[in-house]
């Protein structure tokens, strides 16, 4: 209590000095919060864009490789055969795999899917599409097409189809229009009930989503599926969970982290550079506090001597300066967080993504700032506590 009371009075007395260092800490913490919020916002945006149109984990049998042609005696006469298109092996007992995936800890949704290449026709327009068949509700929990509808409804019953906005434009189609879809020798007439925009040109220009049954029929996979998509609670756990699913089901599994190695490397590089920026900012803050408190100890050595002479213990003197560091850190964190948040708000309108100053970030800034303040104050505080009171009063030290 005495230490805090004295610390406050020391800060109040050296008002100008205190305000200057507080300004320094505030700017440092504001930079910490601002940079963190921008990078976090950018990463969240990148992840949302990437994972908004793909599953966290995809479980699919390997693609079938063409077999060598053999004569009646079993001798191969054509070893190299060009495949017409990649075709996956049948997904044996896929319902059991779905149950096992759902039982895996961390998995929050699954969606059995059939997908393959097809052609879509409307009038004279002809477009290659990726035909996707799935249950509407299950698919929505993996890729939320309903949330990204710009026209129509999200419904996959009967002959319903939902397509991307670019594909709709290329086909010259809109909600209510029929579209013919052909895959191999199979053809079906579907009706567009919704148009979506996932913000991903590949998906917007290629996806044609219909019911599982329609797609199975068109792709000649009745009763079969090509893959099971899964969503996990924590996106960065996807790789670990993918390996666990692979062990449980025996089916090859791929996480978004494998599919997007470049993105992941980019995100990690960003993390590393953000960490470095944070460290340098905190070092500057720590050195600012330490240097001011060091000067204060020299300036106040006579007062410290008096404090010791009237019965103040070394521990209290140490605490007086640690409290000063802590108060600088605390006040700087509160003001800096506000400044950082305001700066974030100001540039958010010109940014293409949301800059969110989360409670977690503020708590981190507060903790780190207070810890930095106390850490920076330690050496000056120890010096003050170890002053020889007699010499300090005489002004020898």
């Amino acid at each position: 209590m005495l230490a805090l009371q004295l610390a406050w009075r020391f800060l109040r007395e050296g008002r100008t000095q205190s305000l200057l260092i507080l300004a320094g800490v505030t700017i440092g913490i504001a930079a910490f919060v601002f940079v963190s919020a921008i990078i976090e916002g950018l990463q969240v945006n990148l992840l949302e864009q990437t994972l908004g149109s793909q599953a966290h984990i995809t479980v699919a049998p390997e693609e079938a490789s063409p077999r060598a042609l053999m004569d009646e005696s079993g001798v191969a006469f054509a070893r190299r055969i060009e495949p017409s298109e990649p075709r996956r092996r049948p997904f044996d007992q896929w319902q059991r795999s779905v149950r096992r995936i759902e039982a895996t800890e961390g998995v929050v949704a699954t969606c059995p899917k059939v997908s393959g290449s097809a052609l879509a026709y409307r009038g004279a327009a002809e477009e290659a599409v990726k035909l996707v068949g799935a249950d509407a509700d299950r698919l929505r929990r993996i890729v939320d097409l309903r949330a990204h509808l710009i026209e129509g409804t999200y419904r996959l019953g009967g002959e319903d189809a939902v397509i991307g906005t670019t594909l709709a434009r290329k086909l010259g189609a809109s909600v209510g229009d029929p579209v013919r879809v052909r895959s191999g020798d199979r053809e079906s007439l579907l009706r567009i009930v919704g148009v979506f925009d996932l913000g991903n040109e590949m998906v917007n220009g290629r996806w044609l989503v219909t019911s599982l049954r329609n797609a199975q029929t068109l792709l000649n996979r009745v009763g079969d599926i090509t893959e099971i998509d899964a969503r996990v609670a924590e996106v960065y756990d996807a790789e670990r969970i993918a390996r666990e699913i692979e062990a449980r089901t025996g089916v090859p599994t791929e996480s978004w982290m494998e599919r997007n190695r470049d993105l992941l490397t980019g995100l990690r590089s960003q993390d590393a550079s953000t960490t470095m920026i944070r460290i340098f900012v905190l070092l500057a803050v720590a050195m600012g506090i330490a240097s001011v408190l060091s000067v204060t100890v020299v300036q106040r050595r006579g007062q410290i001597g008096i404090l010791r002479a009237v019965g103040t213990s070394r521990r209290i003197v140490l605490a007086v300066f640690l409290w000063q560091g802590l108060l600088f850190g605390l006040a700087g964190a509160l003001l800096g967080a506000m400044l950082g948040a305001v700066a974030g708000e100001l540039i958010e309108s010109s940014a293409l993504f949301e800059i969110s100053v989360t409670p977690g970030l503020l708590l981190t800034a507060l903790t780190v700032s207070v810890a930095t303040g106390v850490f920076a104050a330690y050496l000056p505080a120890r010096r003050a506590a170890n002053l020889d009171p007699a010499a300090a009063i005489r002004g020898d030290e």
Binding site: M1, L2, Q303, V310, G311, R314, A390
Partner: protein
Amino acid sequence: MNARPQLLELESVRKSYGDGVTTEILHGIDLCIGEGELVALVGPSGSGKSTLLNLIGLLDQPTQGRIAIEGRAVENLDDQALTALRGEKLGFIFQSHHLLPGLTVIENVMLPSAAARGGFQTSMRAPSLALLDAMGLGRWAEAWPRQLSGGMQQRVAVARALMNEPPLVLADEPTGNLDTETSDQVFDLLRQQNADSSTAFLIVTHDWDLARRCERVIELVDGAVVYEGPPAGLRPAKQD
């Protein structure tokens, strides 16, 4: 020597400074101070007065010898115990008042009590105010030290030294920075406090006039006590 109960005893106290080549400042000091005594410690500059005062004030440790306060030897006490003993048994007045500029006048007076009790408490205000009143400074309680004259600041320092009602107050040239009139006022104040309470005062001074107004004088020359007794027994030259 005196017949009062012993408050402070020093036996063969020596103090040296330096590593390797050492310089001995005090050469085996023996002295006693009784309860409620008013003692002057005189001597030329460099005679070891301040060193002796630091030892008695537990701000420094003797190289050799024994110091006891109220019969309790202090040489084996750790820093924490010395600090507590200093706060409880000793009051300090310095040549330069050494008030803390960031504390108000009354907070400066309360400081020894706050150090002993772990913080400033409202219960400390009444006795602090009474002391300030006794010093004629009651109405300056909430002022800052910088608003006071040198003499007033030194009176605040006296009040601070008396706050914990210590049995012994050590005053190092308490009037050294004051003009004659103010110096007399401050010394009269010390003498009054000494008369009104059982607090003993050990006053280091260059001022022989002031020393002559104490009960007993200890003269230190080159780190040794050359005279100890009533002012009347001082060498004639020193009585002028």
